[in-house]
Symmetry: D2
């Protein structure tokens, strides 16, 4: 299905602030990028670089006052995610070198503290794919979606305590649980068609059966219609906006719609 997704930001800064955005997508397996646009008002100098995860980052300086950013993308998206309930555990000795980092604890994913919880969730479950799916369902069933209970400092351990959070929190818990049983897991951020309420979204991928598979702890039944913007170890790697100074986000509007290209 052809999807058009866009984010409109309005930022306010008292004085100029360096900011980094991660708002560009690359074509891959389940998304063929057809069109992208990125417009700042006022027109700002912009330079792009590739980070260590392969994400395309936009670096600019927000001037004092109001800046608006409109970022949009049109992509042909797979409306189903690949599912393979038999996908097997990949022994750590067989993992590619670059996948190993996704087994380590990271800022928001204290994988080193949740092993007992994970073992309880996956016990008696055979395939690694099914274990990850059990972890995903456990998160979906045992965590409660609630805005305003967590913030940019909240980690997986905090969420396991409070049992509440938003998509990034659910994802941090799921990633931590996977890593604690030696299944590599990484965070993904992007757009999801028909997400309610509409917003930028976070989900995760797990490396089983020799490739990455998509999982989403916020959805009862994961669906496709996703446009990926960035990959990372957790939210610290994939913030859609990082401001190195004080910036107020006055407004943020996200839309994802089906379109027809003429």
């Amino acid at each position: 299905m052809l999807l058009q997704a866009s984010t409109f930001f309005e930022f306010y800064a008292e004085y100029p602030v360096t900011s980094i955005f991660m708002l560009r997508s690359k074509s891959e397996h389940a998304q063929i990028i057809r069109q992208e646009a990125f417009l700042t008002t006022p027109l700002l100098p912009l330079s792009e670089y590739i980070d260590t995860h392969g994400n395309i980052c936009q670096r600019t300086i927000l001037p004092a006052g109001i800046t608006t950013i409109e970022s949009s993308v049109i992509a042909e998206c797979d409306m189903h995610i690949d599912v393979n309930t038999d996908a097997a555990y990949v022994a750590i000795e067989d993992l590619p070198d670059h996948v190993l980092q996704y087994l380590l604890p990271s800022r928001y994913c204290e994988a080193d503290k949740v092993g007992a919880q994970a073992m309880e969730i996956v016990k008696d479950i055979q395939s690694a794919y099914a274990q990850v799916e059990a972890i995903r369902q456990w998160c979906y069933s045992n965590l409660y979606r609630q805005y305003g209970t967590t913030n940019s400092s909240t980690s997986a351990m905090d969420v396991l305590g409070s049992r509440t959070g938003v998509c990034r929190d659910f994802t941090h818990v799921a990633i931590s649980l996977c890593r604690s049983i030696n299944i590599p897991a990484r965070m993904v951020v992007g757009y999801l068609y028909e997400l309610k309420p509409m917003d930028l979204h976070a989900w995760f991928e797990a490396y089983v059966g020799n490739r990455w598979y998509t999982f989403d702890a916020l959805m009862e039944q994961p669906v496709g219609g996703r446009i990926i913007m960035a990959y990372g170890r957790d939210a610290a790697d994939v913030a859609f906006a990082s401001h190195f100074g004080e910036v107020v986000m006055v407004k943020m509007e996200v839309k994802v719609e089906e379109v027809k290209l003429s």
Copy 2:
């Protein structure tokens, strides 16, 4: 100035052929990317990756029959290039590690064979910038622009023999001459406003005064209005299309126009 640049390709293949394109731009110093589009007909699976030079590469499989590709970009471009006639030679011991590779000979740039020629061109010229400019002017004045005299196997040495070629050939000669006197030089490909006849274009950058400066051996007076698509050591690194099988390019149309965004 706001420029819209586009390339329309029509390819014909007898049987499916893997192809790699380099047709996406990143925002940087003299170009702010506002919009990009990439459309294949029929719609083809596409995956993008970053090569060792930081270029965004599109990988696909052209099916048997006709495939068209329309790639376009809208960018706010600087209409002047930075000029700094005093920019000094950077001693090799002070070059950043990642710049060193642009001193080595490469497929089309036999820097190891043209030192005497370069010395003759730059003798009595003081600053490194002025030396590169002298090399550029020498190429402009001593090489003759002629289509059909060179092909994808033609190297700088061949061109120094025949004295004829197109932009990529001029650029290979200039790069080889710069490297032979230990000035790092790299190839750039992209769009150039008002190029006549309009086509994709190749020029070069030299590292002097601790940064890369733009030079163009095909123009009497280099101008701005450029949209960079890829960087590399020479044409082997930055082919806009690499086909791993037999593909006929039936048609290729390039346009660069001033636009106003509503």
Copy 3:
């Protein structure tokens, strides 16, 4: 001074466990590597790869039973660290792209939570170098060195609460404080001559005056005689040994001595 440093490990595993070590050094500014040795008993298959921070990693599988590893290095080391009390703050907009990641919070360094503390420490201090030095001294004076009070889950926030820890804990606190005032800081692990008691050591570097400078929150007066083994955002990136399974470290002995090469 020519230093010989070595680590002797004895590990015990019930069943085979994949392990990654970071025990090799590269020559750089203050250390010229003259000799290195790495010996496992029994002799184990070993493959090395480069991680995203440029560290050389050793990957192997510890068999069931006892494995010993002897890693040693001989290096010509600078016995003084570079000090530049005037080194100025580098505005974020002027930082190289690859330095930006050292401003973000990481697993053990909650830079997002310690800004008020940092402001209090550096208030009225002018140069960025002097600010980092004030942070270093604050850590040295206000944290108490005590083994056994922290473990591999302890973060900077935990240490700021308990005020006790070992070199890695002191370093996490100092890094977090630096980042919270927008000074890039990274963790360094390696050997330090005359450290008492002798052990592998952790310290940090801060990016001021357009380069990285060495700081050590564990020493009253930082000294040279250091052999760096790895760089990273915090201890999660630079563990000298990561075991993906249960491994007991039966013994670990570190030595650093002055030597003469015949």
Copy 4:
């Protein structure tokens, strides 16, 4: 078998010259590095960095006068190379992204010019492994080993003309032939036990059956006992010494011997 390999260089420079060496090995599949040493006389500042092929490079400044460099390594080496005559051709669409560059022409390997020759050599041969082996044997049988007939400017095409050369020339021809039939091939340099006459050696690897296999166009029957120092597209990427100025190599001695570690 435990091998000790060493190179002794004596260089002479009139004035200081920046030089880059590639003389360090990493442990991998068929070589477990046990000890390394690198000694310059006089003792020179040295910094090491990782190039885009993952090689560890030593960067220094040779002073005016004589400099000697002794580089040595002790490694446990596999005395056999892996052979798999059934290893199949990997379709280009299935090659990992980072392998693709080894299909392109490079400075010394004009893969774009030797397709007809390659087709003639491999016709009627089924598996890709067997095709590469046929190319290797063709080079061994049709090229004549002769010192002094080629130099650092000699490319595969030159060698196909003269039919003479040394190991690097044989390797360039073999690599070009492989790439021309869409089999990825890369150059390897290092030590080879019992090479006669003893010298640093160059051979190649081809990517078939989803991994790299070792081939050596200089040997009637390829053997193991190899210690790899660097990988690249051709000799331009893997020069053991690159001098950016005039340097005379007064002496070079290579030894490879079996040893016992006490």
